[in-house]
Each structure stands twice: as structure tokens, then as C-alpha cells.
Subunit: 809 residues, 2 copies
């Protein structure tokens, strides 16, 4: 966990004021740059020290055998694991023959700043080599949001206290040594170094994907630099040597192009990166900077969330939005993985939370990215249909975890059985289609996705002797209650799926016929949807998460000490499955996504009941709990859940930020604010708000994109204002009242008081951390990095013994 | 499958009239000899050709890592796998420098006979070497039932058509090459060859168990034999060379002693086998033969089952009884594995069926072996208590599959969750204690087993708000319906367990106090037992195998072609678990073992309902179905199930007899006859019979041991006769009427007609094979092996090309 004040609180950037090697792996995730196609973790320019080096190309994976103790039919034999591809951002520095390695020497200042408006990671370092020579290094790094193959670095070095011979080594480095020393994944195919141009081509050993990385350099500045290039299969390197006097600056600009293909030949892939490099050279470093800023200006104009009263959450929600945007912006028919391209955690797989959390946010902020991500699902329909067939089911069964559409889950009770993923995809289709009126998508991808998932549900369920339609033996979002009958979340999402397929088929009758959809089939979908079973405990007057759930023995929370969380790491699934204990919002999430299926009183009772059972062992849980807590009136509790989602990575709350960011939980920050305190709901084609602020917030304003409109909502304790910045008049609901918002004219409505309800209890020891009152004004003055040594800056570095084994010199 | 008439039908032996290499692995299982401590598969004396060579010592295993795709808390990281120990029975033969290898040359006759009364496997071979020289070989092999460390072989060779130089090589062979070439499991520690004495000592590489095998030889006969002994770490060998004229016989007697220990030193284990060899030499070959016969005479006197009308089943039930007896006779505080010591199938593990099937039979035939097997469970109580603690439970949780008491199951839904095993152990304790009045066992082992399993159930279950006691999320015998609430089999067996523990604690109040059993705890057990939930479907008027079962979708049997059985090899568990399809008798087995908990009408309705869902993908299923079919009046169907159990290995019905015999199904042969057509039930301390013969049988007679009595029951279509051959008068029930049987005086009662019920249906394609009418008289004339070539005998051998690669000469 990052418990100290690692990052300054600022509205538009994430700034680290000193280098702390203990949290270096976490900072690599937080400072990761990506565009959805290429991901560069925030490693130091010189490559080392590092936590988990990582460069990723969306879709590039290696095949790894999956082993099971006792073979089980229907499980995959191999899985896909994201590969650390050739690292194109390394720039090593020698100062008078001493490597620039921050573990040695003396660090006077080290600042890294991720600017959320420019999309650039800036670094400023001042350091004395063990020999005593002091240099200042500045670098700027970006992964281009406009040229998806391109990452770029600008690097400057300047001696401070004497003339120095400096050597820069700009590298393309393949098969980097990783923690745990896994065998090298890449086999070299071609290497080249010519002038300032470098290129490496490799293939993954088992999955046979070909990838190429090429770099072009511009060297400017003082010291009469001398250049030399060389290459071997796993290393291409440009060496720049110069002698600099104090104040003289040597500058290197490096453009790095990436390309890969599972089908194209070596010349084609080589051509691909060379072409990308040519386009980037055409823009040049300054052109790339300008494009990046323009891209992000447009994003913030359509997506920004402002809040008054809690600067830390203001920063966190913008950081979250930035991460969500950069994970998906240019994914273009590839998956948006659970960790985006910020780390290799969860093997780089994409799960249901991509649709349910990340695409939910993007639907109202970057809808184009949603279409792309859902077109990726559509592209994997053939694999999903084969999988359904193999499982004895109709339609399509999308894989629980995957990179390219093939299932990678070796643990079936919480993998294969989690069929709700299919309804979650359908939910994202319904949401996107309604929010955009994108009829082309509807015809080209949406309809098929809905039809094949509806067919899955129809074949998965059955009508009982009383006509009720049941989905037996499935696993809902709560991974601690698997293989249950009639999971309410799953059933409600399947119900929407069945109806949406019927609607889409009727809307696109011509295409539906081509898919073999008959009137009989549509009628069967509607019949199943109409009679879907929703287990209810009449005595406790609450919904059952699944049939029988509320009759099960409650987990003995009193006998569970704090160190036994997450429970699945200390207790057998056998015990978790059969008891009343909830890993993450399940029924509570259903009450958000299918809120129209519950009465307000049911929501309040259900929320209180499940709140006492939910341990939040999943990062996905807090957002849904925030939304429902806000809806039923527990605004302070909702704020605590918002905070947990918002700070999950900035404070490394789950101790695994090193493996990559929790994109869905970051998306949950927006959800907790907009759907929680904004009370936004989008059921069917209806857009509704029920805003209500917690005491900690003075104002909340957000912009969303909806049906070719840009709607700005601004909320204070007393009233809400709706304003259309773009698009024709819009009908929406405010706390149950229907409003018509005309173009460019604000409509205001008072906010009614929250209902008074007894505060619900969480399991002992499991309430969310109570959000302290926000920091006093003035807390945001950020100290400058100065040239003078800060004794307090780097005790870990400057106080460490100056080891200098020969091979480190 | 063995579809031809491989074995002659004879009442007291299993005779193979010709060698069929295609079923050699199966015959190795069928001709396996064992005493429960040592197991020798029925490989040919000369070692090759072979199917699956195997020599086993009960308890000797190797540790093997268990791997899982996604780690799950509470599952073992290593498993135990039975090891093929040093093979002491190899006697190779060279005839005029040509190896005696039945794949080459010409086979004139080959007969093997397992005599169920002498316990000796006899072999007679006449064979011409490729050179043309013909020899006759006879051998006799036994694994001593009286000297548990000892196996022995007598071997004779005689030239038929000319003078031959013959060489015998009697070997101890460690790390035999096995199919699949696994790495050698044994590391040599010591080897010795001195005169006619051979010895090898090894340790298993990972589990570190030490084992020694030693042999002593006696050479007699003609030809002035010359002897030489030698040894290397994995081979000790005595070579005997002699020149024999036609009619002259060279005879070798070989006594082989086996010993092992996980704790004793090399000198101790060496001394152990030398001592065993000294005792065996004292008896000599003929003494061992006599002891063997005496042991088996006593066994058959107390355990034989006779039937008129079906000689094949007569043979099969005696074969089954012989196998059950030899699997357990001298196990002595070791497990009785699912395959005994007849093969390495299921890794040599012991499961629940040991208690429920094998020990059920032995309770009434060899009760001493039951005490030993249950004392083994008692010896593993510390491991079972640790396991329960690890799983968050009280008492003891015995492992689903094990060799030495540590869990070896890597698939938890059908392993860890199958808690019924614990009640099955308690059931065996209750049955044994009641059947023997063995109060010493009760105090030394039974009480503790009952108390710790009762504590498990109490902690595993909970009372609901209405007071009902539930056992949620467990797996019953039916492995196709896992993790269900209130499995009726489990609940009824747990109910008996809880009550038996309460009874035992009250009976042994002093010891119970020492175990910390309080009056409160006893009351809690009785309370839980009283209120155990038994799900019932009021509409269908049948019990639910588990809560919700009868509401689930029925399996689509019509869409399941025959080649998709066993279902688990062609369908995902996900589908099996959530549908109405039953792998093996579950509720039906409950109606046998807890028959007093059901009314006759309930039994008939339940049987019919579950019969239509039961696919018998487990070998364990048929016996319980036979018993209930007989009870509710489907006598012909019961006979078909009896036959399936009886011929499971003789006809290789499941295509896996090569891996070892199905001991529990073989035990099921006795159960189908005695509990089925004999209608024997032993609930509480009551012994009851409800005999009723199927038309195919004219007479059924069996002897059982009960409370120090030997009771003989003889049944015809018209009447049943009860006679005490030993012991004081006995009260028993006959078709609901209580009888007092005085010593040595037969009591006869008429057999009432069976109720008329509609024939129940099985799933399409899954009825048991209909038993044909028995063979006509005269079918049992057994052809003699003659010296003349039988063209029809060995087409596989004599027609095969006479390959003679140099290294085979």
C-alpha cells in the first residue's frame, strides 16, 4: 500500500516529488502510458532499477499450457498470456563512464509528472555520480493517441558542476529479463541498425505472432555528438557520445513505431513499422505533442467531471478518466483488458468488467471506443459460437477470460459457469445503441451479438412445470457463491438480453431472417423473459441473491480476523460457496443495472441485507455499493465507497497495483459520482437523474454524451442544473419528474432531501475506510525540484551504501 | 472389453484356455494375487510380453506434484501415487540360447488357472522355439495369506522333443520399464547376491520410503544344474544352467520376502525381509501351499455363496469374494484401495467405496479384516483432524482419496466436497460393531471415529430459522450433481453418524469425557439428527436427491448418443451438475443403507423416478440398483444389475480392467445377491431378510457371520431356510415377521410373491445388458491342454511374423 503522501494533490496532473524505490513497481503502473494499442509502463528511462518492466501490444500473447490435477471436459488446455514485447523507450546514460543508476550516487531531486491534459509524462532529475559529477536530466514521454503505433521520448542531459563526457545509449530491447526469470518469449527474426534508424523483428515462440519495433532518432544540442548504431537479435542500439560543459545540453528525440500481425509476412510487418515511423517523422516531436493535446482537449470537453470540496477526489476522478480513455481510445477491435496495457496482471486478460464498468463510462464519454470494443466481441463471435456448441449450448458463449476470444479459464466454477458475462456484453450493446442511435453498429454487430447471446440464454434455461423460466447452476458476479440456481443478477440481465434481442430482431427484420430468427424464436425469448424466476425470501422480505441463498448459514464474520481477507486465500471455496458471504456486489449491482425491476422499498431492504454480508474482496464491488448506497439515501457511506474506488491505485489499496491498474474500479470512480451522486440511470431509452450530494461535496458537475447531444449536469446541495451544450432538445427525468431540456438553456430543479434510514452495517472489520474531511486550503502548494540536495528526499538512495561491484561501473 | 469366451465357466476356478495378447493387460488384473499387504499382478513368469507390470506393497507410494490452472486454497499441492515396487517373481528362460518369448516361435498350448480354493495360480505352457525345440513349462504362484511378506513361485521346465540346454534366470527387478516410460521411482540403497540368496534395498525418491525384497531358491531335478548369483542396484539374479533330455525336469522354487518402512533404518528393513524369508523357508513351498488351502477353506466355510441356475454367476460371485478377501485379508491397518493391489488405476487410492461396499461384505464374511481396515482409518485420524481444521471445520474430515491419510484430490467439487465419506466410515463402524459386538474395537477406535465425524457434521451443518438442520453445498455419491444443499444420502448417513456417536459416547462415558464430549454436545448431535432436512417434492411425490433437484431440467437423453457415455468425458461438469442426471445410485443407495427411513411406497416411487435418470457411469451404481430393484419387486431387472456388477471385470465391461479390478463392484456381486435377493438388511442391531428369487435362479444359499454366529440362509422360489451352524439362538426378521432361530435347527418360512409394479424405464440406451438364459448343461466341460499343436489356440502368436532382431536372441 502507498500510505505516505506519494503524490501531490493537483487538479490536472499526477506528480511524484521524490523517488521511492519501495513503491517503484506501483509507480510504473500509475505512470503507464497507453493508447489502447500500445502500452508502456512507467519505467525509468534508463531501464533500471525497475519493478516490473513492461511494454505491451494489444493482442500480442504467448500460448501457455494450462494444467489441472484431474482432467475436466470442456476446459481449455492452453491459455493466452500477455507478452512483454520489445522495449523501445530505453535510453541509458553514462556520465564520465559511470552508469546513471539511481541506486548509487546521490539523488538531489527526482520529479515525475503525468499531465492529464497534455498526455505527457515529464521527468526531472538531478543526480551526482559516485565520482561526484552532477548532471541534470529531463525527459518527456508519450504514447500517441493520434498515431497508435507510436511512442516517443525526448531526453536531455546537462552537466551541472563540470565538463563531462556523456554517452547515451538508445535501445530497442527484446526479451528483457523479468522478475522470476521466465524463459524468453520472443524469437528473433531480423535486426537492423542503419544511421539513426533501428529495427527488431521477432515472433512469439508458441503463438507465432510476428512483431516489429523500429526507432528513428534526432540528436540536437551541444558537445559535437558522435553517433554509432549496431544490432543483434535482441538488441538494437544507437550510441551518442558528446562532451558537455556545464549548462550545455544534449537532446535526443526518439520516435518508436510498433507493429504486429498473426498473419502478415516479415516484409509486410517491417513495412508497417517503417510506414508508421514515416508518418510520425512527418509530424515530428512537436507535432505529436500538439496532436496529443488536441485529442485530450476534446476528450475533457466531452467527459470532464468537476467537484468542489475534495481536491483529492477531483484529481482521482480525472486520473481515472484519463486511464479509462487511454486504455480504450485506440484499441480498435481489440479487447480492453482488466488492467488495460498497464501491467501483466491477470495475464492481460479481458473479463466481464470491461463491458460492465469500463464501457459503461465510455458510452457517455467516448462512445466511439465502445463501438470498437464491442466490434471486437463481435469479431470473436465464431469462437464464442464454437465454445457454446462444445458446451452443449446454442448461440454464443463468450469466454470468461481471454485475449483473442478463446477461453483461458482453468477454474470452471467461477469461470465457465459465470455466464452472466454474455448478458453483460448484451447490456453494453443495448446501452451503447440507445445512447448513440448508431444504427450501422446495430446492423453490423449489435443485432448478432444480441441474437446469439439470447439463444444462449434460451438454451441454458428451461421452463418448469409451472411455467417459470430458470437458469440453474450458474455463477453470478459474486465469486463466493458459485453454481447456484436463479442468480437474480444473471436472470435480470438475461431477461434484458432476451428482450433486447427480440426488439433488435424486429427492428432489423431483414437481417434477423438471415440469422434464422423466426417469429417462434422471438416469441420464445419473450416468453422466457416474461417468466424468469426471481427468488424472493417472503419471511425476510428480501430478494435471494440466488435460490436458497438466504436460508444458508451466514459466514462467521466474528471468527474471521482481518488477515484472513481476501477470504478465498485463506478459506476453501467449499466453505465460501455454501454460506452467506458475498465477495462483491451482485444483487446490489443488479439493482443498479436493472434498477427498474425493483421498488424503492425493495432496494432499501435488499441493500441493508446484502451490505451486512459483502466483504468486497473484489475491486469491482465498491462502485455498485456506492451507487445503491446513494440511491437509498446513505450518502456518507456512498462517499466512502466512492473513495475506495477512486484511490484503489493511487493508494495501492489492494497491494497489487504493481501488476497494473484496476481499470474497472477506476471507471467505478466516475460511476460512483455520476450514477451515484448524480443518480443517472439509463434504462431502455430513458435518461434519468436523481442527484443528491453528500455533505463533503459542495458541487458536482459532469458532461455526458447522449444521443448526439452533450449534456452538462451541475449539482449543488440545493439544486441541479441541466444544460445542453450540443444537440437538440432532450427529455429526461429528474427525481421522478419528466423535464424537457432545450438547447443551450439551463433547466434547474431543486434536490429533494434524502430519505432517513438507519445506517446499514458491514461485516465486522469490513466497512470502507471512512473518508476524512478534505485537506485544508493550501495543501496543494507543490514544492519545486531545486538543484540543491534535499536531505529528506531520498534517504533510501542517498543513505544506502554505495555498492559498486565491478560490473556496475 | 472381453467379448469372446476367454474364461471357462467353472464353479471354483478361473481358467484361461489360450493366451490372447490383446487382453493380456486385463488377464494380469484378473490373475493378480494379493494378501492385502503384497500384490502381484498376473504377469507371465518371464516378465514379457506384458501389459502393465505391477508389484505393490500396501502403503508404498511416491509423492507427485498436483498442479492447478488457478490456485485454490485448501487443495493439496502433492498427491500420493502407488509405486511399482521390485518385481520378485520374474523367472526368465532360455532354451538353447533362444529366449522363451511367446510373441515368437509357436505356442501349442497355454493354460492359466486361478484356483479359488487353493489360492494358487497355475500355468501350463507348451511352446516351440523359433529353432524348433519344444519345451513344456509349468509354474505355480501364490501370495501367501498366512505369511504376509511372502510371495512364492515354483517353476518347472521339461524339453519335449530333444535334449536342450536350458538357462533359468530368477530375478529381483527394480524400476521395471513401464508403459509411458515414467522416470524411475526407486533409488537403490543396497544389493546383494550370495549363493541362492538375493536381496535389493531401495528408497522411493520423494516420499523416502525404504523397501527391501529378498529371495531364496531351491533348485531340484535333472540336468546337473549349475548356479551363479550376481547383483547390481536394480537387478539381483540367480542363473541356473542345466542340460535336459526329453522328459527330464528342472524345478526351481523361489520364496520372495517383502518389507518396507517409512521410518526404519536399512539394517532393520534388511533384517525384516531376512526374517520373513527364514519363516517361509521353515514352512517350505509345500507348507505354504497347505497353509494357503487351510486359510481359504476357513474363508469359504464362513463366506461361500451358492446358487443354482446360473453357473457363470456362481463362478463370478466366488471370484468376487476371493478378490475381496485377498484385497483385505492381511492389509492390517492399511487402506483397502479401490483396486486393491491388482493395478495402479486411480493411483492406488482408497475412496469411500472401501467402507461402503468392500467392508460391508467383509463385515459378514471376514469381520477381522474390517476391524483392521477401520483401525487404519483410526490411525489417520490426526491427519483428518488437521484437515478439518484447515477447512474451518470441527472433528475430522477424512480425505476423499488417499494412500496414507493425506488428501490427494485436486478436483474439489467432486473430491473435497464429498463429505459423505465421513458418514460412510461411521456407517462401517456402526455395522461392524453391531455385527461383531467387538467392544475392544468400540473403545479403542470406533468411539473416536464416531465422535470426530459427528463433530464434523455438527460444524458442517446449521439449523435454519425453523429449526431444520441443513448440510449445504456438499456432493453425494452422484458425481454429476455436486455442491448441492441437503443431499438426502448425505443427510441420512450423517443422521446415523450423529446418533451413533451419541450412543457410543453414552455407552463409553468414561472415554467420551476424555474426548471432551459433554452432555450438551451429545444433545446437540441428537437435535441436529432429529431435524435433518430431507427435501421432498410434494407434487411428484418423490424425495429430491438434493434440494431443488427435481425442479432442474432433465438431461436430454434423447440427444445423447451411446458414444457420449461416460457423460463426464464428453460434456462439461457445468451441464451435468445443473440437470437431472444421475451418475450412480445416490438416493437409491440411501434407500438401501438407511432403508428404515423410507416407506415401501416411497421406495417404489423413488426407485422408478431415479431409475429413469441414472446412467451408471460409475462402476459402483449397479449393486445398489440391484438391491432396491429386488426390494420393490423388479426381480428380473435386479438380476441384470447383479450381472453387470458380477461380470464387470471378467468381461471388462468398463474397458479399464487393465488398470486393476473394481473391488467395490465385485463386492457388489455379493451385495446384489445377499442384500438383493436375500433381502438382508442390518439396521441398528436388527438383522432382517426379505428373500425373493428371480426366475433365473432355482436356489441361493449363503453363509454370514453375525454376532459370533454363523448363519446359513438357503432360498428357493417357495421358501427360505435359516440355520445357525454356530453360535447361540438368533432373532431375525423374515419378510416382516420376527423369527427365533435356535442352534443347529433349520427354520423355514414361505416366500411371499413379489408386488406387481410397472417395469421402470432407464434412460434411453442405458438399461443394463439383459442377462441371457444360462448356458445349457455340459457347457462346463473344459478342454485339456494337450501336447499337440492347437491351430486355433494362438493365431496371434503363431501367425505373427517371427521377428528376431539381434537383441531378442
Amino acid at each position: 500500500m502507498i500510505s505516505h503522501d506519494a503524490y501531490a494533490v493537483e487538479p490536472w496532473c499526477l506528480r511524484e516529488e521524490r523517488l521511492d524505490l519501495a513503491v517503484l513497481p506501483q509507480s510504473e503502473s500509475l505512470f503507464a502510458l497507453s493508447n489502447g494499442h500500445l502500452g508502456w509502463r512507467g519505467t525509468l528511462d534508463e531501464g533500471e532499477p525497475h519493478g516490473l518492466p513492461g511494454s505491451y501490444l494489444n493482442g500480442v500473447y504467448e500460448s501457455v499450457p494450462l494444467t489441472t490435477a484431474e482432467p475436466v471436459f470442456g476446459l481449455p488446455r492452453t491459455e493466452q498470456s500477455v507478452v512483454n514485447v520489445t522495449n523501445g523507450r530505453v535510453i541509458r546514460l553514462l556520465v564520465d563512464d559511470q552508469p546513471f543508476d539511481l541506486r548509487y550516487g546521490r539523488l538531489h531531486g527526482h520529479r515525475r509528472t503525468l499531465d492529464l491534459r497534455t498526455g505527457v509524462l515529464e521527468r526531472v532529475v538531478e543526480w551526482s555520480a559516485p565520482s561526484g559529477r552532477t548532471v541534470r536530466v529531463r525527459s518527456w514521454r508519450l504514447v500517441s493517441l493520434t498515431q497508435r503505433a507510436i511512442g516517443a521520448v525526448a531526453y536531455e542531459v546537462e552537466p551541472v558542476d563540470g565538463t563531462s563526457r556523456v554517452v547515451l545509449q538508445s535501445e530497442l530491447l527484446a526479451n528483457e529479463q523479468l522478475p522470476g526469470d521466465p524463459p524468453p518469449a520472443l524469437a528473433g527474426e531480423e535486426h537492423a541498425a542503419d544511421g539513426t534508424r533501428l529495427r527488431l523483428v521477432h515472433r512469439t515462440r508458441h503463438s507465432g505472432q510476428r512483431l516489429a519495433v523500429a526507432a528513428e532518432h534526432t540528436v540536437t544540442g551541444d558537445g559535437h555528438p558522435v553517433l554509432a548504431a549496431e544490432s543483434t537479435p535482441d538488441l538494437a542500439r544507437l550510441t551518442v557520445t558528446a562532451e558537455l560543459r556545464p549548462g550545455q545540453v544534449l537532446r535526443l528525440e526518439k520516435l518508436v513505431a510498433h507493429g504486429w500481425s498473426a498473419v502478415r509476412t516479415l516484409p509486410a510487418v517491417r513495412g508497417q513499422v517503417d510506414a508508421a515511423l514515416a508518418a510520425a517523422q512527418d509530424a515530428g516531436w512537436s507535432g505529436l505533442l500538439a496532436e496529443q493535446r488536441e485529442f485530450l482537449d476534446a476528450f475533457w470537453a466531452r467527459a470532464d467531471v468537476e467537484l468542489d470540496g475534495d481536491p483529492e477526489i477531483q484529481q482521482a476522478v480525472r486520473f481515472a478518466l484519463f486511464q479509462v480513455e487511454q486504455a480504450a481510445a485506440r484499441a480498435e477491435e481489440r479487447a480492453v483488458a482488466a488492467k488495460g496495457l498497464t501491467g501483466s496482471g491477470l495475464d492481460g486478460h479481458c473479463f466481464w468488467d470491461s463491458e460492465t464498468f469500463v464501457l459503461q463510462v465510455l458510452t457517455y464519454t467516448s462512445p466511439g471506443a465502445v463501438a470498437q470494443a464491442l466490434r471486437w466481441r463481435h469479431r470473436t463471435l465464431p469462437a464464442a459460437r464454437r465454445r457454446a456448441h462444445r458446451l452443449g449450448l446454442a448461440g454464443a458463449a463468450f469466454p470468461w477470460r481471454t485475449i483473442d476470444g478463446e477461453d483461458c479459464s482453468g477454474y470452471w466454477p467461477a469461470g465457465l459457469a459465470s455466464f452472466h458475462l454474455n448478458a453483460d456484453i448484451a447490456d453494453a450493446v443495448v446501452r451503447y445503441t440507445s445512447a448513440t442511435d448508431d444504427l450501422l453498429f446495430d446492423r453490423e454487430a449489435g443485432l448478432e451479438l444480441l441474437v446469439h447471446t439470447a439463444r444462449l440464454w434460451r438454451s441454458l434455461g428451461h421452463h418448469d412445470r409451472d411455467g417459470a423460466f430458470h437458469l440453474d447452476g450458474v455463477t453470478g458476479p459474486d465469486a463466493y457463491s458459485a453454481l447456484a440456481d436463479d442468480n437474480v443478477y444473471t436472470n435480470l440481465m438475461a431477461q434484458q438480453n432476451l428482450r433486447a434481442a427480440a426488439d433488435a430482431a424486429e427492428r432489423n427484420a431483414d437481417l434477423a431472417v438471415a440469422l434464422g430468427v423466426s417469429d417462434e424464436e422471438i416469441a420464445a425469448w419473450r416468453e422466457a423473459a416474461l417468466h424468469l424466476a426471481l427468488p424472493y425470501d417472503e419471511v425476510l422480505d428480501v430478494h435471494q441473491q440466488a435460490a436458497g441463498f438466504t436460508r444458508h448459514e451466514p459466514w462467521d464474520f466474528g471468527a474471521t480476523p482481518p488477515e484472513e481477507y481476501p477470504l478465498a486465500e485463506h478459506h476453501p471455496y467449499f466453505q465460501l460457496f455454501r454460506k452467506q458471504v458475498v465477495e462483491q456486489a451482485d444483487l446490489v449491482l443488479a439493482m443498479q443495472l436493472r434498477g427498474e425491476a425493483f421498488s424503492p422499498a425493495e432496494k432499501a431492504r435488499n441493500f441493508a441485507y446484502y451490505e451486512a454480508l459483502t466483504v468486497r474482496d473484489s475491486a469491482l464491488s465498491a462502485a455498485g455499493q456506492a451507487v445503491l448506497a446513494a440511491e437509498v439515501g446513505h450518502l456518507r457511506l456512498a462517499y466512502d465507497y466512492l473513495t475506495e474506488s477512486a484511490l484503489i491505485d493511487l493508494d495501492d489499496l489492494r497491494h497489487d497495483t504493481r501488476d497494473g491498474l484496476h481499470l474497472a474500479a477506476l471507471a467505478g470512480t466516475w460511476i460512483a459520482l455520476v450514477a451515484g451522486f448524480g443518480g443517472m440511470r439509463h434504462h431502455g431509452d430513458t435518461l434519468a437523474f436523481a442527484p443528491r450530494l453528500p455533505e463533503l461535496l459542495d458541487r458536482l458537475a459532469f458532461t455526458i454524451q447522449f444521443q448526439r447531444r452533450s449534456l452538462r449536469v451541475e449539482i449543488t446541495a440545493a439544486e441541479a442544473e441541466y444544460r445542453l451544450d450540443e444537440g437538440p432538445e432532450l427529455e429526461l427525468w429528474h427525481h421522478g419528474e419528466v423535464l424537457t431540456v432545450p438547447p443551450h438553456r439551463a433547466v434547474r430543479r431543486p434536490v429533494p432531501p434524502a430519505p432517513e434510514l438507519p445506517e446499514p452495517a458491514q461485516p465486522p472489520g469490513r466497512p470502507p475506510p471512512r473518508r476524512p474531511e478534505p485537506d485544508a486550503p493550501g495543501a496543494f502548494d507543490v514544492p519545486e525540484v531545486s538543484g540543491a540536495p534535499h536531505e529528506s528526499d531520498a534517504p533510501h538512495a542517498s543513505d544506502a551504501p554505495h555498492e559498486s561491484a565491478p560490473d556496475e561501473e
